[in-house]
Structure formats: C-alpha cells, structure tokens
C-alpha cells in the first residue's frame, strides 16, 4: 500500500489540473477574432493536395485567415474522422473537407455543424446535409465537353476515335461518357466513336487495351483516356506501336504523370482543373460562409482573382477544366 500512495498523489494532481482550461475555452469562443479554417485533404503527401494547400495558403494570407492543414498519412479509414473530431474540440470556425469515405466522414462533419462550425466540402463531396456548399472542381458537362472539343480540335473534326475508361460501371465516368456522346452527336457529325474499353484503373491494362484498339482499328485517329492511369498507359502503347503523332492521345490526368509523353509528342493534351485554384476558391468560400457573407440560395459568388463563380444548387463550380500541353505543362507540379 505504501507504494501506491505516491501513485495516487500523482493521479490526484493530474486529475485536479484537468479542470483548469475549460474557462479558457469559454474565453476563446467569443469576440470577433481572426477566423480559423481547417483544411482536410484526402491524404497529406499526395502532390494533388500539396497544390490544393498552396492555393489555400494564398487565399488565407489574402483574407487574413488562420489556416490549419492536416490529413491522414495512411489509409486508416478512421483518421479523417479523428482529425475532424479534434478540430471540433479545438474550436475552429470552419472546416473545408475533401472526403475519402463519404458516409463515414459525414457523421463527423455533422457533429461539427452541431457544434456551430461551418462546413464546406471540396474535391469530393460528403452527404448534402453534412455541409453548406460543395466546391465542385468540374461538372460532368464541363469535363465531357472539354474532352470532346479537344479531341475534335486535334483530329480536325473527323475520323474514328476510341475511349478508355476505368470501368463501365463507375458513376462519374458514366456521366462523363454521356456528355461526351451528347456533344459528339450535337457538334461533330464527321467523327465516329468506334469502341469504349475498361482498364480497371490500371496502367498496364490500359496499355494492353490501347494496343488492341490500335490493331483492331487501323484508321483510328485518336484515343481518349478518361481515367488518370489510362493516359500514360495509352501513350506508352501508341509510342511502342510507332504511331506517335499519327494517333492523337488526350485524357483526364495529372500533368506530372504525363509530362514525358507530352514532351515527346505522344500525348497532345492532358485535361484537368487547376488544382491550386481549387484550394484558393475553397478557402475563400469557406471564409465567406463562416462570416455569413455566402449563404445557401446564392446563385453567384465573387471568386476574387478567379472572377465570378457560378453556383448550381449548392455547388460552387470552379469553371471549365484546363488543358495542359507542351506550351504550359512545365509550369505545373502536380
């Protein structure tokens, strides 16, 4: 028992010291102070989100907002929730989240809302009732139309082309294909979509499928890869077939993964939104939601250096996707 006494004394000391900072938390709550916005990426080391953070920092500095950036470093599905829960007790004013697990994170975001914290999502949405706005990097129409228009530009508006997608069932890619086909029917009567192949989001398989397409359709003018691993995969197949330049390659992907092929002239265009702008708009909009300047029902938003931003329902739309090619690809790191 003698041994236990000092332990008990220490425990008592700890316990008594635990109650102190509650008052401080209360004192922190009131008053018009610098806004604190917490930015949650899907994962922290990913170049894509590193660039989101860059844009976010720019906006934070411009607006005089304190920005916290933290995210999972592994694939533990509990991490995003834990980070949000800790931000709630930290007393941040607003949270901007890119959601890895839609349903799971929505629980934590709703807790944040219940604690009076404003929530905005970006990149990938949560459940609609768990946030005020979703900053949408690109609508299905924006992506589909840009891809189709660019394919038409590269081929001179005529000839056969094929699509490589991730799976035939993925919801977002299904929507993109629909808008691509609608645009094709509407504007480019001399072009013909001859085939659509799935690559299961794998570069190797995309390369194989592209090689098959090249031999099956000798008149093919262009291959459009609409999932990111398929763009370099397709380029490799076209390069190995010795058809670089003759068969145009374009797709939806990261500039960094395609830089070499773009410079070699195998891939003509890589399409994506400007990721840094996504971070910028997210923080700007989140700050204005927290200040009560941007409320549900608004139809337009002043995006600062990005110009006027259209609001569709509860989505802020970043704008038309951006086309990366030999001229500009070196300016982008992601």
């Amino acid at each position: 028992m003698n041994r236990l006494l000092p332990l008990l004394a220490i425990a008592a000391l700890l316990f008594s010291s635990c109650n102190k900072p509650a008052d401080r938390a209360g004192a922190d709550g009131g008053g018009a102070k610098k806004l604190t916005i917490a930015l949650l990426p899907k994962s922290k080391g990913n170049q894509y989100f590193v660039n989101v953070e860059k844009g976010a920092r720019e906006a934070a500095q411009e607006l005089g907002v304190e920005l916290l950036f933290d995210g999972p470093t592994n694939t533990d599905p509990a991490k995003q929730n834990e980070i949000v829960e800790n931000w709630i007790t930290l007393g941040v004013d607003a949270i901007a989240a890119a959601c890895e697990n839609k349903e799971g994170i929505s629980t934590a975001l709703k807790k944040a809302q219940a604690a009076g914290i404003k929530v905005v999502t970006y990149d990938s949405d949560a459940n609609a009732d768990a946030r005020t706005f979703f900053v949408n990097q690109a609508t299905a129409e924006g992506i589909g139309h840009t891809l189709m228009d660019e394919a038409a530009r590269l081929t001179g508006g005529e000839g056969e082309f094929a699509i490589i997608t991730a799976t035939l069932t993925a919801a977002n890619m299904g929507a993109w294909r629909k808008t691509i086909e609608a645009r094709l029917a509407e504007k480019y009567p001399k072009m013909k979509l001859v085939d659509t192949k799935p690559c299961d989001d794998q570069k190797d398989k995309a390369q194989q499928e592209a090689a098959n397409l090249l031999s099956a359709y000798p008149n093919l003018k262009c291959i459009m890869a609409i999932c990111s691993p398929a763009v370099p995969g397709t380029a490799e197949a076209v390069k190995q077939a010795g058809k670089a330049g003759a068969v145009k390659v374009l797709g939806l992907g990261l500039p960094s993964e395609n830089r070499a092929y773009v410079k070699e002239g195998v891939t003509q265009s890589v399409i994506l939104w400007k990721v840094q702008d996504l971070g910028y708009l997210t923080i700007k909009a989140t700050a204005d939601v927290a200040k009560g300047k941007l409320n549900p029902g608004a139809t337009e938003y002043d995006g600062g250096k990005l110009g006027p931003i259209k609001i569709e329902g509860d989505n802020l739309v970043l704008g038309q996707p951006f086309i990366f090619n030999t001229e500009n690809i070196d300016q982008f790191e992601f």
């Binding site: 003698n2 041994r3 000092p6 332990l7 220490i10 425990a11 000391l13 700890l14 010291s17 635990c18 109650n19 102190k20 900072p21 509650a22 401080r24 938390a25 922190d28 922290k44 304190e66 916290l68 950036f69 933290d70 470093t73 592994n74 694939t75 533990d76 599905p77 509990a78 929730n81 834990e82 980070i83 829960e85 800790n86 709630i88 007790t89 930290l90 007393g91 697990n101 349903e103 799971g104 929505s106 629980t107 807790k111």
Partner: protein, 343 residues
C-alpha cells in the same frame, strides 16, 4: 514463480516502470495544458478516450500474448476482417446489428483460434504464424469487398455505441473498462496469469512444472482474436462505416503500447496496468501535439517520431536501472571494507 528480482531487491518505487510512465504522462498533460489549445476540456478528453479504445483493446489482449513470449501481428487485420464480416452479416444476410456483432465476435474468435491451433498444435513460431494470418485476414477482407465496397447507413441505435455518451462518458469507454478489468484480473489475480508469465520466463520449465502450456497459449491467442472482433464492432460504430482497411497498422500501435507499458518483449514480466499507461501516454501525446497550432501541419509525423523516441528512452532507462541495481547488488554482496559506499 518468484523471480529473484521481485524478492527484496526490487528497484525503489520511483524507479518502477509504471511510476516513470505516470511522470511522463504528467509532464505531457502539464505541457499540453499550457501550450495546447482546449486540451483539457471534457470534450477533448472524450475524444482521446474514443479514439484510443480500439487500439487500447488490442493492447490489453496483446499483453498476455507478449507475456508468454509470443506476439500477435494479425489483430489489426483481423479487426478489418471482422468489420467486413459485420457489415456483410448486417447488410447481406439481413441480421440485426446486434446479431451481426455476435457474428463478428465469432469470426474474431475463430481467427484467434486459427492462430492458436497453428502455434500450439504445429508448434510454429507465433511471429511467423501471425505474419501469415496478418496477410490472410486482410486479404480475405479485401476479397469479400473487392477492396472497395463499404457498408454504411447503420441504425442510430447501433451507432450510439461509438458516438454516444452514457453517464457522461463515451459508451465504448464502459466496454473498454469492463474488458480492462477482466484482463487485469485474468493476468494479475488468477493462476492463468501466473502461467502466462511462467511460460514466457521459461517455456520448457513451465512444461516440466506440469503447466498445460498449449492450453494457456491457446487461451491467450483466442482471447486476442475475440477482442479484435469486439474492437471491430466499436470501430465500425465510431467511424459509421465498415470497410476492408479498418484497423490498418493497429497491431503495431498495440505492441508499441504494451512494450512502452513495461512488458518485456521476451515475455515473463509485465503488467496490464503498465499497458494501460502505455496506451494513455501515446494517445495523449498524439492528441496534444495536434493542439499546438503552430505545428499542427506536422503533428502526425512528430507524434510518430516522439512515440518512437519515448519507447526507446523507456527501454533504455529500464535496461539502465536494471544494470545499476545489479551492480549495486553485487557490490553489497562483497565485504564492506573493499568498496566505498555508493553515492
């Protein structure tokens, strides 16, 4: 079962591992109280508890395993498999969440039983067996879900387990307290516990002394599996989603807590309350660092680094005090005239 160390010449109370850990925790708390934002609030303490229950449960049942000189690398993967099993039993088989939870517990027990059978019947080393089941269980979970399927939209009555409060305390904390008490009694107040330590101290000796070594080992690994199932249920309820990557890396977090808590990785000595302190020290460190706003962007990396440093320091300090006390003991046994008194 007395080792010479616990007889008379035990280190002074302030050198005991648990006391050192308590001091470390005290320093952490006092430090984060002063530099962290809203660290000591009730809501944040609830956060710390909720977020460490699953790893804490795994660490609790890892303690007897390590006491026997073994290891279980499969508990994190088994947690993932049980989470998926729970989701499938609920969604695909249409069972109520509580029946599905029972099913997940059974899956966990069977998983632990598989480890136990391979270790005791085939006499394979636990490290190898559980390294195998580490991949096997995670692989099964991924196969069942195609790696992408997630189970969601559980009823609120079930989600209350991971997100609700009972008598002012997170619901799962009560479950944790019950399991902690159970494991503590098992290890420190029953002959089972003493046999775990005996097996870890000298497996052959324990066998010659007539202990049912295989049976006791089987108990430790099966218990670890069953509690991994329980942790899976709490995890799913807390995160409100069941998917194959649940519990990824948790086995190492649990082992870290056990070893930091003073249990020898070679088996033979250690305690459940030490493990609890180990869990607390790591959880408080991780949470506290994320409350220092200036370093919040690197708090996760920093907490990994400091946890590692803390572990190495604790082990080094333990080894050092042991060496010192042995040296003192050997000096005392010599005639007093030949050596000056120790300072």
């Amino acid at each position: 079962m007395n080792t010479p160390r616990t007889n008379g010449s035990s280190p002074r109370w302030w050198l005991r591992h648990e006391v050192v850990l308590l001091v470390v925790i005290a320093i952490e708390i006092l430090y984060f109280q002063n530099v962290g934002k809203n660290f000591g609030t009730a809501a944040n303490i609830a956060n710390i508890v909720r977020q460490s229950v699953e790893i804490g449960l795994l660490a609790l049942v890892m303690t007897p395993v390590i006491l026997t000189g073994g290891i279980d690398l499969s508990v994190g993967s088994l947690l993932g498999l049980c989470a998926v099993a729970f989701g499938m039993l609920w969604k695909d088989a249409g069972l109520s969440p509580w029946l599905a939870a029972l099913g997940a517990l059974i899956v966990g027990t069977l998983g632990g039983g598989l480890n136990a059978a391979l270790i005791t019947r085939l006499r394979l080393p636990p490290l190898i067996v559980t390294l195998g089941t580490f991949s096997l269980f995670r692989g099964l979970a991924e196969a069942f879900t195609g790696g992408t399927r997630a189970f969601t939209s559980f009823p609120p009555s079930f989600l209350a387990l991971g997100n609700g409060f009972a008598f002012g305390v997170p619901v799962q904390a009560w479950v944790f307290a019950a399991v902690a008490l159970g494991v503590w009694l098992l290890v420190h107040r029953t002959t089972f516990g003493r046999s775990f330590r005996a097996i870890g101290f000298a497996p052959e000796g324990a066998r010659y002394a007539g202990l049912p070594v295989e049976g006791r080992l089987a108990l430790a690994y099966t218990l670890a599996g069953a509690v991994a199932g329980l942790a899976a249920i709490i995890f799913v309820s807390r995160v409100t989603e069941a998917r194959a990557n649940a519990g990824i890396g948790y086995e190492l977090a649990a082992i870290t807590a056990v070893v930091l808590g003073g249990t020898s990785i070679f088996g033979g000595s250690g305690s459940v309350h030490g493990t609890l302190l180990g869990v607390a020290a790591i959880a408080i460190l991780a949470n506290g660092l994320s409350r220092i706003l200036s370093i919040t962007a690197i708090s996760r990396e920093l907490s990994g680094m400091l946890t590692g440093a803390l572990l190495l320091l604790a082990l080094a300090a333990g080894a050092l005090t042991k060496t010192l006390s042995e040296r003192r003991a050997s000096k005392q046994s010599r005639p007093p005239s030949t050596s000056p008194p120790a300072p």
